[in-house]
């Protein structure tokens, strides 16, 4: 088996010059050539005598597999010590949203008597999502760097970074609560705490429900009725087909997917605290993310982890297939659907309209960053969004896209799917009240 260690150019240089000098010294009778060539030949003999033969093994690991935005972690690569290994060098680069210390990612360590030689960088994660660190290159040297080894595999590590949810509160009740327990007032009368009406006693009414003051005053038995307390399912649907805009940590500028993730996290956190069940679907994107609707404290962590895995689509055939499969997946009756989208992809909007027509309460939250939706968008931002280099042409293309977007939003509204911009707390209140009124209003039924 061939040794993974290769002689370096420096060894070749020392060998060539040293041997020539000693030969010339022997044949020419020049002692000074032997004095100059002697150390070079000694270096070669030394390096060959101590050369490493076995290939070290490399093990890479992160200090954590799941992080939060702004967290720091350690990326450590351990190189096993083999006889003759003297130094280990490595290049452990971060990615665009993972700043390493040192920033250039070049690290080195000297071999000791320990079983492994560790090299490590610190990485600060500046953005949610799957952050990929690497590819790392690791190498080692023998004495005088005469023999060099390079790890055959380039190491890549990924860390799922959970987003920090935004702030969201809502005072409006969800339109179709269907569960057994919860904090939403049901549209139907049942066991609960909120008074519905006082009506004459009927057969089957419980005696403890009799309202004695009214019964005595009217001379006939009357009972109190209450609204049932129920919970609801909230299904967050995140449109990750495209990510528009640029994230800038320093200026606080965010992309459409940043806004969508923050909003989804905030809505999930709010409804989970009110006892509802929250699920998540990420449409499109590089990986299929489906979080079943469950209630409870741990569900927020699951939803945030799912949001952290959301990535913009790369446009592959596999992703399109996965998207079609996701769009075919049914959503339980009565679920309140919140679609978070930049409204530039047709499929999610069509999906929202289909859901509304099948009886779900659907709200579309527009997550396009304000700096892109207004006329004061910068040329660079428009170039990035449209992919057109010419600034004037990019502005024109984007203007047409915005008109198209307005048309799509209008069509959604006409189909009964309200489209609202994300403004944090209270964003959904108006549409939720309207949806609740609609659900209580009398309907024409065919008999």
């Amino acid at each position: 088996m061939r040794s993974p260690w290769r002689p370096s150019r420096a060894l070749g240089r020392a060998t060539a010059i040293g041997v020539v000098l000693l030969t010339a010294a022997a044949f020419g009778g020049r002692g000074d050539l032997a004095v100059i060539g002697g150390p070079l030949v000694a270096l070669v003999v030394w390096a060959v005598a101590t050369r490493p033969t076995a290939g070290p093994t490399v093990r890479s690991r992160l200090s954590t597999e799941v992080g939060h935005e702004g967290d720091s972690l350690t990326w450590r690569v351990d190189v096993s010590t083999v006889p003759g290994l003297r130094d280990v060098v490595g290049h452990l680069p971060g990615d665009r949203w993972a700043t390493t210390t040192p920033a250039h990612g070049h690290v080195a360590a000297a071999a000791t008597r320990a079983a492994t030689v560790p090299i490590a960088v610190r990485a600060r994660i500046d953005r949610w999502g799957v952050r990929r660190l690497g590819p790392a290159q690791v190498g080692g040297f023998g004495d005088f760097a005469a023999f060099a080894w390079t790890a055959p595999e380039q190491l890549v590590e990924s860390v799922a970074t959970v987003p920090t949810p935004g702030v969201f509160t809502s005072r409006a009740a969800l339109p179709h609560p269907v569960g057994l327990v919860g904090q939403h007032r049901s549209a139907r009368v049942g066991g609960g705490t909120e008074l519905a009406e006082i009506r004459p006693f009927r057969t089957g009414d419980r005696l403890r429900r009799i309202h004695w003051p009214v019964s005595l005053r009217t001379g006939a038995l009357h009972v109190t009725t209450t609204y049932a307390d129920q919970d609801a399912e909230v299904r967050l649907v995140l449109d990750a087909i495209r990510d528009l805009g640029e994230r800038d940590v320093e200026t606080g500028r965010r992309s459409s997917l940043d806004v969508a993730v923050e909003a989804a996290g905030a809505v999930a956190a709010h409804y989970l605290t009110t006892g509802d069940r929250v699920g998540l679907s990420v449409l499109g994107g590089a990986g299929v993310v489906e979080v079943p609707a469950v209630g409870g404290h741990h569900q927020l962590a699951r939803v945030l982890l799912g949001l952290g895995r959301a990535e913009p689509s790369r446009g592959t055939v596999g992703e399109e297939r996965a998207l079609r499969a996701q769009l075919r997946r049914s959503i339980p009756p009565g679920a309140f659907v919140v679609l978070l989208s930049a409204l530039v992809s047709a499929e999610p909007l069509a999906h929202a309209v289909r859901l509304a027509r099948s009886g779900h309460a659907v709200v579309v939250v527009d997550t396009l960053p304000p700096e892109l939706s207004g006329p004061d968008a910068t040329d660079d931002a428009l170039r990035s969004v449209t992919g057109v280099d010419d600034a004037r042409l990019a502005r024109l293309v984007w203007r047409l896209r915005l008109l198209d977007r307005e048309r799509e939003a209008h069509r959604c509204a006409m189909a009964g799917v309200p489209v609202i911009a994300w403004r944090g707390p209270g964003s959904l209140d108006t549409v939720l009240r309207q949806a609740a009124r609609r659900s209580r209003a009398p309907r024409v039924a065919s008999r």
Partner: protein
């Protein structure tokens, strides 16, 4: 850790000092050779420092050897052997400095343990040059009949060094 700028400057300084030593050795033998030696070494040094992993390093070491040996004859006096030892030390230090510049990532800091080991190894090789010069001095300043004994001392030194080397590096 020694910061990358610091060890870089130290290595470049080592190469420049070695150049100066070579110029002095060549100039001591033949002063008229100085302008040619300086010109050659300046160009070769610039090339070697610009691309230490390329042929520039080879060219600089060869240029140093030629500039140190071409102007003079075979050394016979103690001073000439001392100059040869200085030239040998300068060449081996240049080689080591260029090797470190070529192999170590330019932006990486140098661990102190690595610097100490390279320093110790460089000192050992400089002692090889000095030892060779001492043997040469003995050979040229003693009667001809002592030659076998001097050769035996030289071989004994080499054998002892190799044995020590193997004993210290193959442990564990």
């Amino acid at each position: 850790m020694i910061r990358n700028r610091t060890w870089h400057r130290a290595m470049i300084g080592t190469v420049l000092v070695a150049d100066v030593v070579i110029v002095l050795v060549g100039g001591a033998a033949l002063p008229g050779f100085l302008p040619f030696a300086i010109g050659t070494l300046v160009i070769a040094t610039w090339w070697a420092l610009a691309r230490p992993a390329g042929w520039g390093a080879f060219t600089l070491v060869v240029a140093q050897v030629l500039c140190a040996t071409v102007p003079g004859d075979a050394p016979t006096t103690l001073l000439q052997w001392a100059l040869a030892a200085a030239a040998g030390s300068a060449v081996i230090l240049t080689h080591l400095a260029l090797t470190l510049l070529a192999s170590w990532p330019a932006r990486a800091d140098l661990p102190r343990a690595t610097a100490l080991r390279w320093g110790a190894h460089a000192a050992a090789l400089v002692w090889v040059a000095i030892g060779a010069a001492l043997l040469g001095t003995l050979a040229t300043t003693t009667p001809l009949g002592w030659a076998p004994w001097i050769a035996a001392i030289g071989l004994g030194l080499i054998a002892g060094t190799v044995w020590q080397l193997r004993a210290n590096t193959r442990k564990g």
